[in-house]
Symmetry: C2
Subunit: 162 residues, 2 copies
Amino acid sequence: MKSRTAVLMALAASFTVSFAIADQDTSQISVPQGYRTWFHHHSTVNMTGHQPDGNVGLQHVYANASAVEGLKAGKFSDGATFVVDRFKYMEADNHSLTQGDRKVVAVMVRDTKRYAETGGWGFQAFKGGDPDQKAVKDGGKACFTCHLQLADNNFLFTRGSN
Amino acid sequence: MKSRTAVLMALAASFTVSFAIADQDTSQISVPQGYRTWFHHHSTVNMTGHQPDGNVGLQHVYANASAVEGLKAGKFSDGATFVVDRFKYMEADNHSLTQGDRKVVAVMVRDTKRYAETGGWGFQAFKGGDPDQKAVKDGGKACFTCHLQLADNNFLFTRGSN
């Protein structure tokens, strides 16, 4: 039979874990410096009609050196970081689509302990690329809802080291 | 009255200059190493219907450090280099366009003396990104035909240092 102290300690430990999970925080994630000269992995255009419609735009995916290694290895070290830089697109002359204003800079940072609740990835996004306009306030849960379907690819839409 | 020797020398000099202009060569331009981590300036999509139709695709423009400086200064030093990395685009689920196979790696290298005939820019292009499949065999004249309209912007379609 457990002592009262042991029971209380177990409860406290349980509470601490629950508290940590419930309140995963990604507000400390900042806009990575110099991501425009990280490895540009690929770009995609989400045309009008794409869902969620907030993701409509011409977007570029950048990987830092650690993330490039992770793409090759299929396994990511803490510190691996991706940036999705999304712009409005505009129809231009001669059947072209060109970049308009920046919509958002979205970031995924690998930290298996800190972001255990969202697959080991910390999510943050900056409206218009403004470092002071952090859009993710739920610890990344909404982002992870979509990324969850990529559990076979480390929760990444980005595949391969191309 | 000129001596016969002087006339012959003048003719020879004239011939040399004409010969150099007529035979500007860009075959020594190679695929720049590491351009995927150069500054990614912007991307554009040339949709079906775009002319010239060989340029249809999703294309990324990269600038080396010297070219980034040039974009800021509005004046380019020799060695400034741009790469246009063009891919087929594919229509994907959820109203998205994604990258397909690489069509070409196109390069512009600044060298005001060597490429005087084409605005100081040397043009070369590599089919499928293959360093051995050089597509430009006319010294860049065909490329320059389109770039000539951008004489007010150093013959570049790319504008600004964004």
